[in-house]
Symmetry: C2
Subunit: 346 residues, 2 copies
C-alpha cells in the first residue's frame, strides 16, 4: 500500500513538526517511513487502528509503562530499547510469555528525524531480538517546551502457562530471596551521561529483556512465589513493596548482594545508596527454600544471571520490615525510598 504523499522524508536534516501529529498526510509519511518501515510485521501492515490476534483459552496479562528517561541515549541503551525491555519485563514477571507490544509516541516539536529514527531502529532491534513484535501504535506531537524529545509508552500482553501463580502477595516466612545479578548498573550508567553529573566510567546499563530467563526459571520451579524487577526505587523499595503485599518481613545479607566496584565507587562519590538505584535487567525471585538450588542452577546457565545469589530470607514480621545484616556484623532497617533520588531514570 503506497500512501499518497510525494517523496521521502529528509531524515538526515529534517525535524518533527506539528503537522506530523495532525492525522493527515505528513503523519502518514512519518508513520510509514519511520515506524512501519522499521517495525514491519504482518499485523502492523494492516493499517488498522488496532491489531487482532488469536489466543488460546487461559490467563493473559497486560502491563504498561511510560518511558521518560533523560537523556534519550545512554551507555548500554536508549529510550527505544528500554521501552521494549521495560514492558516485556513487567509482563514476564507474572511468569507470562510476552506476545505483543503496542507503542505510543509523544514527540516534542523540533526532534531531529535522525534521532527519532535511531530510537525506532533500536526499538525494532530489541523487539526482534525478544521475539515480541510491536503490532499497533500511536503518534502525537506537542509544541516545543511542552515535551522533552520523545516519551514512549509501551503496553504488552502475554499468556501465563497453566499451573503458574506468581504474585506479590505469595511470599511467606521461610522463603528465600534470590537476586539475579549486580544492582545499580542502569541508574549509574544513566547518571554518568547527564550533563550536569558527568563522571568517568565504563559502566553500561543492564537494560535487557528477561523473559527468556523467566521461562527457564518457571520450567524448573513452577511454584515460584514472587518475581519482580527492581526498577525505580531500586532493590530496597521493591523488597519493601513485596514485604507489604505479602505481610511478611525480610532479612537481607549485605555481603551477598552483588554491586560492581564502579557502581559502589560512583554511588559513594554522589552520596547514593546502590540499594535504591534503578535496574532494568535484574529480577528478584522469592521461592520455597527447597526450590532455590534448582533455580540457581538454571539461572547460572543463563548469561543474564550468572551472578544470581540468595541475598536473604522471608521472616514473620507484623511490621513488614526489610532489615539487613551489614558487612560489619550489625543490622539496619532498609526503608522505602523517601523523596526523590534519581528523577527520569526510566
Amino acid at each position: 500500500m503506497t500512501r499518497p504523499y510525494a517523496g521521502k522524508l529528509d531524515i538526515k536534516h529534517g525535524t518533527v513538526n506539528m503537522s506530523h501529529g495532525s492525522g493527515g498526510r505528513a503523519m502518514a509519511q512519518l508513520i510509514d517511513q519511520i515506524f512501519m518501515f522499521h517495525f514491519d510485521n504482518e499485523l502492523l501492515r494492516q493499517h488498522n487502528d488496532q491489531a487482532a490476534f488469536k489466543v488460546n483459552a487461559g490467563r493473559m496479562v497486560i502491563s504498561t509503562d511510560a518511558h521518560v528517561i533523560a537523556p534519550l541515549f545512554f551507555p548500554g541503551g536508549d529510550i527505544g530499547s528500554l521501552s521494549v525491555h521495560g514492558t516485556i519485563n513487567d509482563v514476564c514477571m507474572s511468569g507470562a510469555k510476552p506476545l505483543y507490544l503496542s507503542a505510543a509516541f509523544i514527540i516534542e516539536e523540533g526532534l531531529a528525524l535522525c534521532e527519532l529514527e535511531r530510537i525506532v531502529i533500536s526499538m525494532a532491534k530489541a523487539s526482534r531480538e525478544a521475539g515480541v513484535p510491536i503490532v499497533t501504535g500511536d503518534t502525537k506531537v506537542v509544541e516545543k517546551d511542552n515535551g522533552d524529545g520523545v516519551f514512549i509508552t509501551t503496553t504488552g500482553v502475554g499468556v501465563i502457562p497453566d499451573g503458574i501463580n506468581i504474585s506479590g502477595e505469595r511470599a511467606s516466612p521461610g522463603d528465600v530471596i534470590i537476586l539475579s545479578g549486580s544492582i545499580g548498573d542502569h541508574g549509574m550508567a544513566v547518571l554518568s551521561s547527564r550533563e550536569n553529573l558527568s563522571f568517568e566510567t565504563t559502566l553500561q546499563s543492564d537494560s535487557a529483556a528477561l523473559h527468556g530467563l523467566v521461562k527457564s526459571m518457571v520450567e524448573v520451579a513452577p511454584n515460584i512465589h514472587c518475581l519482580r524487577d527492581p526498577t525505580r526505587g531500586g532493590l530496597a523499595t521493591t523488597l519493601n513493596e513485596l514485604a507489604l503485599q505479602s505481610s511478611v518481613g525480610m532479612i537481607l545479607d549485605e555481603q551477598s548482594i552483588p554491586v560492581k566496584a564502579e557502581v559502589s565507587g560512583a554511588c559513594e562519590l554522589l552520596g547514593l545508596d546502590p540499594l535504591y538505584v534503578a535496574n532494568e535487567g535484574k529480577l528478584i525471585c522469592i521461592c520455597d527454600a527447597a526450590d532455590a538450588d534448582r533455580l540457581l542452577t538454571a539461572m547460572h546457565s543463563d548469561p543474564q544471571a550468572q551472578d544470581a545469589a540468595i541475598i536473604g530470607k522471608v521472616v514473620a514480621d507484623e511490621h513488614h520490615m526489610v532489615q539487613m545484616q551489614t558487612s560489619f556484623g550489625g543490622s539496619r532497617v532498609v526503608d522505602w525510598l523517601a523523596g526523590e533520588q534519581l528523577p527520569r531514570i526510566c
Copy 2:
C-alpha cells in the same frame, strides 16, 4: 493493604512534584490516594506490575492512544474521559467487546493535585459507565516545561465475537457509507475553549464510548465490512485512509452529511472545513447495500446515532479518490488533510 506513609495528600492545595515519580513513598501515596482510590477494582488492588485475567479461545485486539489534548478540560469532557472513550472506540471498531484498559500518566511537575484528581475522577466515571475497568497503570513525573499538565496513554484489549471480520481493506464497489451523526463537534468544542481562540458557543464535545452502538450494529449485521472513528484528520482523512486500504474510490453526498449550524458557523469564522475537524463519538460504517436498512434502524434506536445517515457509496477507482457531490450540484475531490489544522485535539 495500608502503605507506609504518614497522613493524607493535601489534594486541595498540593501540587505534583518530582518525588511523586520516584518509585518510593511519595509515589505510593499518590497512586493509592488518587489512582487506586478512584479506579478501585479487584485487579488493580493486587498491586502487581501487571494485571492477569482469564480469556476464552478466540481473537483478541489491542489498541493504544496517547492523549495530549490542550486544554485539559473542555466543554463536554476532559483528557480523562477522552482517554477512556478514545481507546475503547479504537478497540471496538474491530467489532470487539472491550475488556480492560491500562493507563500511563506523564505528569508535569507543578500540576495541581486537585486538577489531577478531577481528571482521574472523570476517567473512573467514564470507565465505570463503559464497564471497562482500568486494571494496570504507570506514573511518571517530568520537570516543569518538559511536559504540559498531564499526558495519558491508554491501551485497551478486547475480544472479537466469532464470525465478525471488520477491517479497513474490506470496502468494495457497491457498498454504502454510513455516518453515525454530526461531524466536527469535538474539534470545535475544544477550539472554543482555547485561550487564543475563545468564541461564544454552547457546543459540547461528542466524546463518548461507542462499544454499545457497535454491539447492536454487529448483532443485526455481522457482515459489516469496515468501521472507523473519524478522529484526527476528520471524516475526510478517515475516508481517504479506508479508500486507500481497500483500493476503491468513494462518492459522498454533501447534503446528507450532518453538520450542526454552530459547527458550520464556527468553521466559517475560523476558515476551517468541518470535513477535517476531529470527532470523538462518531463512527463510519461501510457495508453491503443490503445491510444498510437494518443497520440504520438499529443505529436510530441508539441515542448516540439518531442522526445516522447514508452519506455516500463505494465505487471502483484505481486512484482511490474520495469525491463529493456538493449542495450546488458540482463535484469536488475531498483530499487527505495536508499540513496541520488543529494541533493537540486529542
